[in-house]
């Protein structure tokens, strides 16, 4: 006998609002259905009504934690339309802020993973040390989370010697602490028991479901946009693509810890080799007509933006594919028991948390599907209102919708 349990959108085990239906056979999960669209924000449509400069703070709010990845992706996408290179110093500053953002996001996730397995003291220490990188971001940009540093044609603030000195001092503390956390994660028994062989994703499955970011790198596949398709100053800054072959949540934890150490070295390299010169160029308000695609390695994986311009100062169409959408079908694969791999109900939160989900970034509007007839369709707002009115009138309730 199987039981269906719905989890979410609001549930104590989930840190993100999303609805999942788990079919259970005893204590094991045999089938998972994800229902997305609860937090659809309509940002793509809203962007069509604002000009390119006004859209920068809006793009930043697609995701609070990986806001730098989204703004870099947006600004370089618009710069591709102008077909003009931006100053080299601006590209280096972009890499510095992006890597600081990655450090902050990964330290946050390490804490969350520890919290999900019930290891709260580890969670508190990582979050205390995350304050160091938050203060560095505040020093460089003027705010802890919403950086608002990128603009079309470069960056808005420069890094002077005083700031660079403080940045290096902060990085030394972070490196020491992250190495200590790596030691704890490798030795601590309670972490190993809860994370080993949980959320298994074999390399073949990872490719089949096109997982992105640390999730696919923990399955021993070398995929990283920074190395495969370098943007900003990544063609010059050296780094190693971290992979692990454990194919489980423990591998994802170790990938993130090692990437944090790599990011610290990348920021140091940028500070040493940053050329002098201007930090931004002025570009006209309206880009020439055309379309372009840009890719950025966000802390959670590959982030893809598409823009189509018709020559006015507002985008004609804008499309965002946030990294979590790429990981969602792989997540369903991880949560389903098959053969000797069994998923307990108690492991659901940590497997869900293992992909570092950011559901609100990727939610999109619903589509109507008829599984029996195999039909798919969507309704306009007017049709939907009419549908609702008819339905409630049939039930004898006077329609309240206008």
């Amino acid at each position: 006998m199987s039981i269906k349990i719905p989890i979410g959108p609001q549930h104590p085990a989930l840190k993100e609002p999303e609805n999942f239906t788990f079919t259970l056979d005893g204590e094991y999960v045999v089938k998972v259905e994800a229902r997305i669209g609860y937090m659809h924000k309509g940002i793509e449509k809203l962007m069509e009504s604002k000009n390119y400069i006004q859209n920068i703070p809006l793009v930043e709010r697609i995701c609070g934690i990986c806001n730098v990845a989204h703004t870099i992706c947006y600004t370089q996408n618009v710069e591709y339309l102008y077909e003009k290179p931006i100053p080299r110093r601006a590209e280096f500053i972009r890499v510095i802020i992006e890597e600081l953002n990655r450090i902050h996001s990964h330290l946050l996730w390490i804490g969350i993973a520890a919290h999900l397995v019930g290891f709260d003291s580890f969670f508190m220490y990582t979050w205390r040390d995350r304050e160091v990188v938050m203060d560095l971001v505040e020093l460089l940009t003027g705010n802890r989370v919403s950086t608002a540093l990128m603009t079309i044609g470069g960056v808005r603030r420069d890094i002077d010697d005083d700031k660079a000195y403080k940045l290096r001092k902060g990085l030394d503390i972070l490196e020491e602490r992250t190495k200590y956390y790596k030691k704890i994660a490798e030795d601590e028994k309670s972490l190993l028991v809860r994370l080993r062989d949980i959320g298994r994703l074999t390399p073949a499955e990872a490719i089949k479901h096109s997982a992105v970011g640390p999730t696919i790198r923990a399955s021993k596949i070398k995929v990283d946009v920074r190395a495969d398709d370098p943007y900003a100053a990544h063609d010059e800054v050296p780094f190693n693509v971290i992979t692990y072959d454990t194919c489980d949540v423990f591998g994802r934890l170790m990938v993130r810890i090692d990437e944090t150490l790599e990011s610290i070295n990348m920021v140091r390299y940028c500070l040493d080799h940053m050329p002098s010169g201007p930090i931004r160029i002025r570009l006209p308000n309206a880009p020439p007509p055309g379309e372009s695609v840009s890719r950025v390695e966000a802390p959670r994986g590959e982030d893809i933006h598409y823009v189509k311009s018709n020559g006015t100062d507002k985008p004609y169409r804008y499309k965002v594919r946030a990294p979590t959408l790429g990981n969602l079908s792989a997540l369903i694969e991880m949560l389903t028991s098959k053969g000797d791999y069994l998923v307990h109900v108690a492991d659901i939160p940590v497997v869900l948390g293992g992909i570092d989900p950011c559901m609100c970034c990727m939610d999109r509007s619903a589509k109507f599907i008829d599984p029996i007839k195999g039909k798919e369709w969507s309704l306009t707002w007017e049709q939907l209102k009419l549908y609702a009115k008819r339905k409630w009138e049939k039930e004898g309730i006077k329609a309240k919708c206008r």
């Binding site: 400069i53 006004q54 859209n55 920068i56 703070p57 203060d135 919403s146 608002a148 704890i184 601590e188």
Partner: protein, 112 residues
Amino acid sequence: MSITPLLLKHIFKKRATILYPFKEREKVHLPEGFRGELRFFREKCIGCGLCFRACPSETIEMSIDEKGKRPIFYLDRCTRCQQCEEVCPTKAIELTKNFETVYFDRKSTIIK
């Protein structure tokens, strides 16, 4: 338990947090260039409307008075992105370090 020495060491250390709203207010450290509440110098404004076009959250509305076009700021909508300060040709807009922006009514958030 490899984290135990760290835990024992921190029993006798000071706490990492501060008791912000009640005590230790002076310990809140804000760096140079912090983006806080907006301040507007009306005498410097020339009414060009550039800030109105750069604002992403419709904080700024243009009105007409005896001097010509002038902006009105609705600070409850402000996201402190600093784009208005950046485009202002006469430096009539400035972001201060004030981050405690709580008011009892919406009217007091309007700056003219």
